[in-house]
Amino acid sequence: MLMTGAEMVVKTLEKNGVKVVFGYPGAANCPIIDRLSFSPIKHILTRNEQGAAHMASGYARVTKQPGVCTATSGPGATNLITGIATAYMDSVPMVALTGQVATPLIGKDAFQEVDITGATLPFTKHSYLIKNGLDIPKVVNEAFHIAGTGRPGPVLIDFPMDLLKQTFDYPDEDAEINIRGYKLPAKANETQIKKVADAVKNAKKPVILAGGGITISDAVEEFRKFVKMTNIPVVSTMMGIGCLPSDDALYYGMIGSHGAKRANMIFNRADIVIAMGSRLGDRSVAHVKGLEDGNKLIHIDIDPAEIGKNVQPYIPVVGDIKNVLEQLTPLMADYKAADPWIAEADELRARFTHEPFSGDSGFVNPKYFLKVLSEKADPDAYISTEVGQNQIWVANAFNIRHPRALITSGGFGTMGYGLPAAIGASKASGKTVFAVMGDGSFQMDLPEMGTMCQWDIPVKMIVFKNDRLGMVHEHQYLLYKSNYQAVSIEGSPNFNILADAYGIKNGYVSENSGVAAAIDEMLKDKESYLLVVNVNPYEPTGDTLNEAALPKPKKEDK
């Protein structure tokens, strides 16, 4: 059948079940945008290509399917980069379609030309530059296969615009996908699984470190069953939050530099750590030696390269966590973690869990706010965060009840992620989606409120306003002798008036006593809402780095 390159792109997107493409047009990707208008696939115009990439990422986290974004050549493509890198670090499936200058112009520094496959090479799972138009269906199919299977990740396809416009004789049947260099892990090694079972049974203080891989491999059900059966205490990385509900009796919180003190203590006291689907990144595990000594670490991951990259394990297991749990569960059927260990963990929880301050002080306590929001939110709601104090507050204080509920940039730590990711998640789920932001990060992708309005995609925006880049402010307090530099963001607009300008309903709250009513007002209907929450600039981030509150504000400090 005769088709243009762009028609082949859109047809193959349809075959791969794509329903939404987030994007921004330009001359080079215009052929795709043009053909999308004749397809049931909906194109959501964003306000910046970076927003399109983050929206595709939020969309993918909810649907488990690769999110799709598109941008034109040159600056359009480079604007996608932060979103692609963010997806790469959190193993989010994504397919990015970029337009490229016409084939004869490649390498000539043509207008809006950039080597985007070269630029994104370090942080894409794979990338393609189309050289022959007839390859388009095969490449697009492969891209979806690679992005969505194994350890997921972003795949970029760069389409020279002449090939998008040219007509080709398109074969009726797609070629079968066969990438000989791409191996998906088979079942995990039985001997290793047996070793794991023996080691856990012989341990006095086992703990499970739940990572994002559990959710990604869709193994949450198996995981929860395993935990319930074995009674092993669970701590998590940031990406692992939600594998158990935050209020589960066996969940003790997030570990790491911004984790809960109780979780870190339990993690450190364990004599066997079963890390499932985690990179053991530097923000989670700072004292590598402590894990390597004493034959403590069982490391289970789908990506063999993660095993031994950061920490040398005692027992390595390569496998998809879903398969591994299916293999391991029968071997552990007669096992229950010892009561004294559970009692010890519970004692630590009791000792290091504090009710958030809920009195009036002229500011809202964000931890109290998130506790109240947890109580009032739908159990199936999603919550996205930006990066900074807001992220840590949500990770530690919001009750995450379902595995994909928390949408956050864990590995890359991308400010400007939360708002567009929430838009993507809202489009994907149709459920309530909260975007929790600081007033700094909100302003990074704030124009995407226009996308929200144009396409009628509701998001409940919560801005913790402290007129500061709060986490850096705290960093400068702790490490730079309170020399506060480049952290005041005075000059920001009145966010309520701004919301009015977009026609978005909004509210403001500055006392704990007003929190419940403000949340009720926000949740009254399904529409977008912006709630500005006045927070003390000296509010501490967490309880591990700094148990004590920061000092009271000084007058001269701005």
Partner: protein, 166 residues
Amino acid sequence: MERYTLSVLVENHAGVLSRVVGLFSRRGFNIHSLSVGTTQDENISRITIEVNGDALMVEQVSKQLSKIMEVIKIKTLREGEMVKRGLVLVKVKVSPKTRSEVIEITNVFRAKIVDISPGTLTIELTGHDKKIGAFIDIIEQYGIEEIAQTGMTALERGSNTLKLDK
């Protein structure tokens, strides 16, 4: 630090080499030498990489390389279980007095003279890097004008091959 030799079969596509080399610099691994060429299957190239490091690092290099879509197969070859060869071209300064000495050394190393001019000899030598090193050490006294050297390339000894998975 030890020297390891990795034999890597890759798809013979444009851009594969930059993926492989980029990975080394990005992850802080050091390439000592590298050579590339096609194999009996024109769709497949073999990259031979010499890496300096320890066993854990080489394992990590190998695992990271495996993640590249175009990398089909990798094997770390052991010293003693492979034949490893490189090629060097050396242009040496000679005078009528020293010419015959240089020719003699060339013969001892079973190297070849491939070009001659009134003031120079260009010598081609194939061999293990230790042999090449020894030759350069001894010829240095005559004055080396230029050296061009390839990376090492290697094959397993015996009937073992780097087979593709079916």
